[in-house]
């Protein structure tokens, strides 16, 4: 722990959540959640009657929620900087002794940007799904699940209480399970859904134990009470809470060591991968850490843990992404890595919270863009995901290529696209904090450039390696319009950093952004980062672009490639360390139950049977034996009488 010391001092105490009551336009806050929830209920309970118009209802609810979010956002902008926290009390959820949990919605600057991201990007993806899932007869159910997801995610970010967050947390976990395993007839999809759910559950232990510890320490789990009293708790307790919340974040955001489910989750339909496993659900972990900043800012040890997890994951995801031939799995590795960046930033304390959210927003734009682009590519190649069967799609699918390229430039961090601004700030802040951390971030940027370039080359640029019956064509307008929208956001998303707007916007929530003391000026830092990126691109150009891409994956590969293909043995590790001992434990328990517990029960019965078998020999049928027993009894009675009388 001491090797990764923070150089950034804590200048101010963590800000307290002290919200005003919702009035005016904010009184419609509950509607933002209620509309998608209603949509989900109607679509899932309505059955086949809703098939004809179900998808439009799904799109509509999210669109209206987006409009409401936009209106409320501008309403918040219109208020004073200190006055931007609004709370709407819906009802008291439950009371247990002195513990009351209210279902309150908290709308502040952090929730505002999340609401826009969820409903905005979500709405775009809903529109895309209308076209993508057109040939699926269960499309209506798909939209029902998507709406359920949006409603749960909105609950998660709007809750004013850790228990409310948990409700949303579980809801998005459920929706993720339902959506990953949407194509139920595929055993791989069902297995992937189960894997995602189970690994998420491990993380959920962190959130429930963390909430319990918070309740034990502060007597309440509402953000207002905890943030007001956070400095009164002991550092040990705060560190414990922080680490438990980190565990929860690892599960939901696919960070090390709970990262193995994300690549398998690509079994789900592509819009699902875009919405849930790129833009929103996997960012819930980052949201949790940033929202609980009043705890993390006070405990250096927990933040160190967060930084370590972030560093490991960003390198892990990048390395995995280099060796995957499945376009969706490569993008999933990329997601894992980029969320590692966000977690790393969140672990840097008040210096990094706003940057983590900024990168979260830009990542939402360009990753959703690239996933939808991948979906478009798959649509055009008969749902083939293998990049070795692509090639020269540039000409066949120009819009897809253009939008995908913008997303690509954003993710590798080329100015003036969005990713450059967000990732650069993180690298800067990482170097200001600790050299090793900064180096990890920089190297990660280089590897990102490598694998993304590889992906672009294999898919769009290199010679065509198409399957025999594949005729790639551009996707319909209902799919390309969302792509264009997201590409625009990827290109222009950097404006959020204009005048440090995003940092100032969030500072009432996460604390004042401290001054950094970097060894070099920010400009030099950016140049160094660009050079690293350029090296990554160049390496990919030479290794992948200049050589013919084999149609079958080569088997004679280096150790590193083999390891990367096996996802750095994450699955193997889980299998050996957790699954196999688990099964052995179960077998042992069953054996114990069968032989010991059943043995005791049946043994007792058998013992009684045996005992009675011996005792019945006393019934020999002879009157004289019975008379002897009677006389003995009489003698005993006499003995007792004498004993009582003369004692």
């Amino acid at each position: 722990m001491s090797a990764v010391m923070s150089n950034l001092a804590l200048h101010t105490a963590a800000p307290v959540v002290d919200a005003a009551t919702a009035d005016g336009v904010f009184s419609l806050l509950w509607l933002v959640i209620a509309l998608p929830a209603l949509g989900a209920a109607v679509l899932l309970l309505g059955g086949r009657r809703t098939d004809k118009w179900g998808h439009w209802l799904g799109v509509g609810t999210v669109a209206v929620s987006f409009l409401l979010s936009l209106v409320m956002f501008f309403g918040l902008v219109g208020r004073d900087g200190e006055d931007r926290q609004v709370s709407q009390h819906l009802w008291t959820w439950f009371t247990a002794g002195s513990y009351t949990v209210k279902f309150d919605l908290l709308y502040d600057q952090l929730s505002a940007v999340f609401l826009l991201l969820i409903t905005g990007v979500g709405g775009i993806i809903h529109l895309y799904s209308v076209g993508y899932m057109e040939h699926d007869e269960r499309r209506r159910r798909f939209f029902g699940y998507l709406n359920l997801f949006v409603a749960s995610m909105l609950t998660l970010v709007l809750a004013g209480d850790f228990v409310g967050v948990f409700l949303g947390w579980e809801g998005v976990g459920l929706a993720s399970y339902l959506l990953i395993g949407f194509w139920q007839h595929k055993p791989s999809a069902a297995a992937a859904a189960k894997k995602a759910f189970v690994i998420n559950r491990v993380g959920d232990i962190g959130l429930s134990l963390g909430s319990a510890l918070i309740f034990v320490t502060f007597g309440s789990t509402s953000f207002a009470v905890v943030s007001a009293n956070a400095d009164k708790a002991s550092s040990g307790v705060l560190t414990a809470i922080g680490l438990l919340l980190l565990l929860a974040a690892c599960g939901k955001s696919a960070q090390f060591p709970l990262q193995t489910w994300l690549l398998d989750a690509m079994e789900g339909p592509t819009p699902v991968s875009a919405l849930i496993h790129a833009a929103t659900m996997v960012t819930a972990g980052v949201y949790l850490i940033v929202r609980a900043n009043f705890i993390f800012s006070l405990t250096e040890d927990a933040r160190t843990g967060v930084v370590i997890v972030g560093c490991i994951t960003l390198l892990l995801g990048a390395i995995i992404g280099c060796a995957k031939d499945d376009i969706k799995k490569a993008l999933a590795g990329s997601t894992m890595s980029q969320i590692g960046y966000m977690v790393l930033a969140a672990g840097l304390g008040p210096a990094g919270y706003a940057l983590a959210i900024f990168h979260l927003l830009t990542h939402g734009f360009f990753k959703a863009n690239m996933f939808l682009g991948a979906g478009s590519v798959m649509h055009g190649t008969n749902d083939d995901v293998n990049m070795r069967h692509y090639g020269a799609l540039q000409k066949a699918m120009p819009v897809t290529f253009a939008t995908f390229a913008i997303g690509y430039l954003a993710i590798i961090g080329v100015p003036p696209f969005a990713g450059f601004w967000s990732k650069d700030k993180i690298i800067e802040t990482a170097f200001a904090d600790n050299f090793v951390v900064g180096l990890c971030a920089l190297v990660g940027a280089g590897i990102t450039a490598f694998y993304m370039t590889r992906l672009m080359l294999m898919t769009f640029v290199t010679e065509k390696r198409w399957e025999p019956d594949v005729h790639p064509h551009e996707s319909p307008r209902v799919m390309t319009i969302p792509l264009i929208a997201l590409a625009a956001l990827s290109a222009l998303g950097g404006f959020m950093l204009l005048n440090n707007w995003i940092v100032d916007w969030l500072s009432p929530v996460v604390g004042e952004h401290p001054e950094e003391h970097l060894g070099v000026s920010p400009l030099v830092m950016s140049l160094i980062a660009l050079v690293v990126v350029a090296i990554g691109v160049a390496v990919a150009w030479f290794l992948v672009g200049q050589r013919p891409v084999p149609r079958e994956a080569p088997t004679q590969v280096s150790v590193v490639t083999r390891a990367a293909r096996a996802e750095l043995y994450g699955d193997a590790f889980n299998e050996e360390v957790i699954v196999k001992p688990g099964y052995a434990g179960i077998r042992g328990l069953t054996a114990f139950d069968g032989s010991v517990v059943d043995g005791i029960v049946e043994g007792t019965a058998a013992a009684f049977g045996g005992l009675s078998n011996r005792f019945r020999l006393a019934q020999n049928g002879f009157v004289r034996s019975y008379a002897l027993a009677v006389l003995s009894g009489a003698a005993l009675v006499l003995l007792a009488l004498l004993a009582v009388n003369f004692s």
């Binding site: 019945r616 020999l617 049928g621 002879f622 009157v623 008379a627 006389l631």
Partner: protein
């Protein structure tokens, strides 16, 4: 005369009677041992009647005798019936009520 010797005698006779029940195999001899036990308790009753100065004990002894008579009648009739059907007067032969 103190009642103690009479009671001790009664106890001894009772015990001998009970030993007879336990040891003898002829049903009628067993029955006679039971009669011996009843007689021993009659002796105790009469002794205590004299010690307490009222005739309750003698009345009780009287009733014991009458009931013993009835009991002997029925018991011997039973023994005779068993003897007729099973041709044996040994108590050991009536041992069907067993495991």
């Amino acid at each position: 005369m103190s009642p103690t010797p009479f009671i001790v005698l009664s106890a001894i006779l009772f015990t001998i009677g009970s030993l007879g029940v336990l040891t003898r195999r002829n049903a009628i001899v067993v029955f006679m041992s039971v009669e011996l036990m009843l007689n021993a308790s009659n002796l105790a009753l009469v002794t205590f009647s004299r010690a307490n100065g009222n005739l309750e004990g003698q009345i009780a002894a009287f009733f014991v005798m009458v009931v013993a008579a009835a009991e002997v009648v029925v018991g011997l009739a039973i023994i005779m019936t068993i003897f007729r059907t099973r041709r044996s007067a040994s108590v050991d032969d009536a041992s069907l009520l067993k495991y």
